[in-house]
Symmetry: D2
Subunit: 345 residues, 4 copies
Amino acid sequence: MKVAIIGGTGYGAVELIKFLNNHPYVQLEAIISHSQSGTDLASVYPHTIDAINMTMEALNISSLSKVVDLVFFATPSNVSKDLIPEFIENGVKCIDLSGDFRLNSPDEYESWYQSTAAKQSYVDQAVYGLSEIYQDEIRNAQLIANPGCYPTSTLLGLIPAIKSNIIDNQQIIIDAKTGVSGAGRSLSLNVHYSEMNENFKAYKLGEHKHIPEIEQALQWEAGVPLQVTFTPHIVPMTRGIMSTIYTNLITEKTTKEIIDLYQSYYENDPFVRVRPEGMIPSTKEVYGSNYCDIGIHVDKRTGKLTIISVIDNLVKGASGQAIQNMNILNGWDVTTGLKQIPIYP
Amino acid sequence: MKVAIIGGTGYGAVELIKFLNNHPYVQLEAIISHSQSGTDLASVYPHTIDAINMTMEALNISSLSKVVDLVFFATPSNVSKDLIPEFIENGVKCIDLSGDFRLNSPDEYESWYQSTAAKQSYVDQAVYGLSEIYQDEIRNAQLIANPGCYPTSTLLGLIPAIKSNIIDNQQIIIDAKTGVSGAGRSLSLNVHYSEMNENFKAYKLGEHKHIPEIEQALQWEAGVPLQVTFTPHIVPMTRGIMSTIYTNLITEKTTKEIIDLYQSYYENDPFVRVRPEGMIPSTKEVYGSNYCDIGIHVDKRTGKLTIISVIDNLVKGASGQAIQNMNILNGWDVTTGLKQIPIYP
Amino acid sequence: MKVAIIGGTGYGAVELIKFLNNHPYVQLEAIISHSQSGTDLASVYPHTIDAINMTMEALNISSLSKVVDLVFFATPSNVSKDLIPEFIENGVKCIDLSGDFRLNSPDEYESWYQSTAAKQSYVDQAVYGLSEIYQDEIRNAQLIANPGCYPTSTLLGLIPAIKSNIIDNQQIIIDAKTGVSGAGRSLSLNVHYSEMNENFKAYKLGEHKHIPEIEQALQWEAGVPLQVTFTPHIVPMTRGIMSTIYTNLITEKTTKEIIDLYQSYYENDPFVRVRPEGMIPSTKEVYGSNYCDIGIHVDKRTGKLTIISVIDNLVKGASGQAIQNMNILNGWDVTTGLKQIPIYP
Amino acid sequence: MKVAIIGGTGYGAVELIKFLNNHPYVQLEAIISHSQSGTDLASVYPHTIDAINMTMEALNISSLSKVVDLVFFATPSNVSKDLIPEFIENGVKCIDLSGDFRLNSPDEYESWYQSTAAKQSYVDQAVYGLSEIYQDEIRNAQLIANPGCYPTSTLLGLIPAIKSNIIDNQQIIIDAKTGVSGAGRSLSLNVHYSEMNENFKAYKLGEHKHIPEIEQALQWEAGVPLQVTFTPHIVPMTRGIMSTIYTNLITEKTTKEIIDLYQSYYENDPFVRVRPEGMIPSTKEVYGSNYCDIGIHVDKRTGKLTIISVIDNLVKGASGQAIQNMNILNGWDVTTGLKQIPIYP
């Protein structure tokens, strides 16, 4: 199978390239970059020298559609929404790592993204690619809206509790922490080394674009309207997300009972590892891998259920999950090309 | 005035030594270390070489009591409780950076610290040294229980809201993050460099010794029993604490109104900087200084008040606040020896 | 083919386990740990949970010899020398990641390692496993002494220049820098997080055990006695080594000419990437991979040739090269199980 | 005494501001910034909020000259050379942290800086402000060219050896490592957090602007022409420089003898700490302070003398030394405002 990547100079793209390079069934045919067409990948990413000998190209949708079966979009917001319709019409499947097709409601999109939504008919056919939860829909999709990094860790952590009706859906607090690579490769004083090193920051309180994405999926699962409190923070490290999720139990449960419930929920999902009692995952324990590790703690004093969910933001939170979705789409084993265990230390 | 430090080899002690070295009214007379008596400070902390020429000594309470007016305890748990009574009887004031005298209730102490509480008559006379809140009591104290690092950032962030009756005291969630120096200088795999670098961890969920300390002070201020949900995390950096505090407003308030309330509450406190709207403090913005910076955010969608409070855990969270308490105790300007602005970048 | 690892709790072992897990021709049969026998790997290394379900075992040489074809030793100094002879006698091949069999001269060994050398007859049959240089000998070895991390980066950087007689062999200066994982998992104040973070240190000036190993191989190649000046430093990062090597050219050469010479020398070696002019490799550009990247600079003003050689200390500097040697030993493609490109960022 | 800072938004300026804030004899009258005039300092550097209430101003040389006695230039290259002459003519003393007046030879300047040199009559009256070495000249200067960070650590490490004729001046190799703050606050992919974290890089081999500055001062001291080999590297940390300097002894000396020689050379210099035998300084041991710590090692095997010199690049390597020079210029105790011991950990 032949694929292309559009948006070839960001971290999402280079991580896709790494996984595709090890994937047994797929050939990476083209890397498209508007800003760097004609440039060798190795001059933009020297770590690929002699390993990936490709030159970035300008985009020509019609010619590209003839040679590839699937396109990954690793573009910033507001790019894929204008390009994907033509690919779809040409019969090319699309996996979009940007947020352009994630929100069903154009009003929500325009309010949070402050720009015009994608054409509604394409939004309607987009499948939200949270692999473990929506694999049946993914299997038949033409267009997959690959989830954001924060929503991936948060939703995998929350959905089993929501589905089993053990928590108060109206009082969910998500305190999320990300490594710096989540901010991408664009220069900014916020992620200038000397400003970010030995520093820990909160940002975009109540304003992050991932909030409506989290709420939309939780509402699908809960079947009722709900809102969450979500605060993102940035950690002085390159990779990793931890979502610490605070909920109120509405029925008495022990830590062990909830772990059993989660392990049962994910028993057929090789990339979700629900930890045994007393073992809370840290971000490094999933570094460079497609795992989402989940720790559970019930505070007997206060009746709160705390859920801790960790992923590598560039893998399960972006490119790894995109590969996982490609595997599902093609009926391949979901772990194909993704078997790497975490890099440690 | 002459002082001594007991527990001379930990990070609390070395930070005290740095501040005392710049303090105009105080002479550091002795550094006591059980394990390193007879050793030069510079061989344990080479950065002090040629700057602080002192040798660590064994403890002799009666002779030390004759030469010093005040003793700082920078000892681990369960040490000061057996030593402080004799100093107090000898008329030497004590500032204890450990937790031995912080909890009024021996039951609480024994349940959270898993060891025998200090003698109750001394616990009863200990003043909880949260400088901005209890300065009147501190002024006349013989024995000051210097607050823990997490309680300092959390309580300074919460008390104005508690005192003004704008939040639901029964639904407080504290998501706290600390730099690694909070774990001290004792070796442990948890803070072994290769394990902690590029890693973010949660730990001691629902079990941290600072929980009863936070609850005790909040109860004093609220006048009612309450419990908090508190989750500590460890950040791959050396210094800094951020407490992200989630509360439910029980009365409608804007961000601006609450900032005004906080600025008014702390208007005479030079070390608390309540930030203007839209400006959330990061930990590096207080690095190496005695400041506690507070950011306020009201989420209009959900009616939640989020309070972000940052300190340097070794300064305002330990040794700096101990110096501040010594200043209050002696009627000196509270900023004496502590005027250093944060080191940045 | 079936293999075992002896010394199962260190970073060398866990990195071997990661590579073996992806290797198509090899089955990891046992992980031996003296101190942790009976313990699940996942309780020592939680990142392996649900991925590698193995329990560490005590060593029984005779029974292990019956089930495995090859044993990796990831033990500290002074362990393998007493165990390897019996495995060899039992017909089991051994790849030793420790230094016990690297030095041919027992006097050198005893002087630098301050302990008794291995039995000379086994030292004599050990092949020094610097894969690119000694592949012919490796192919027929029973016992491979896998090189140290510093020697690997230094020797791959220097040998082409030595072999082509363009430098003064008597004036070689190696300024080497390693990530902290090189110090292993044993606790020490030197690599305690708060001591090592935001710090850069030199250590063991003129005393590092890798000095005689470097000199021995350079003497083999140069055919004359020589000594090097070698200073190791430790960098606040987990992985990576850079050797900055200073030499005096004895014949006039341009940067380009020397690059050509190096590229030609390594033209059949997929893991050595000699960089084009003006492109100096950094450590992150080989992170997590088995590459050794080399940059060349001739200073026209001073006539010095500076060679910069980078590796991942745990991969090409230890476990990756051990896998590479296993591949050579078995006649498999040298890149089998090692095709992973560097993880970036 | 009243002073101003020109170039108010860089790290050099903000570090000057911190030291001036604690200086007993000096009043900071104005902070000049071309790009940010009219902006509050606290909006550019939030850590100064409520501590330094100043607004950045546009430059008006004639009015500024009437109110200040001394101006610090913390500007990029090629700015001060056009501004300083007018200040000097107005009788205002200038301390220039940029390189514009450091090189005596206009040819050297133009070759290394690739731009026109400052007017020669002002270059001629500029005193090179390496405080310990040129204090007599500094005392009477109108214009001080404050040294670069690498030259400061390198020259303080080398000059005692040069002056005592114990090394071969023609074979000096300097392997230097800096924290990232040396690159300033300007955005660049090289110091983008995700690119620089967990990375170690060499850069500008043989091309760094500090090379002629080092050679010029060494030639003054040696009295003969000489060239050095100098390779700068960048370390994933914010602050600190280590220069590892390799020299050939031309006379037999022990480590102890050379330490004695260095301690004697610097016996009246409180900011240079020559370490005793076996104690090599690390960068963190001078963090945030104005110290230069020097370690000495003679390798008996090879007859090489290795000198390790560490500073905080923003303090002794820039702003701290500028304050020290201001102290010397005014006849104040050299340590005034600079007594802070290093921040550790």
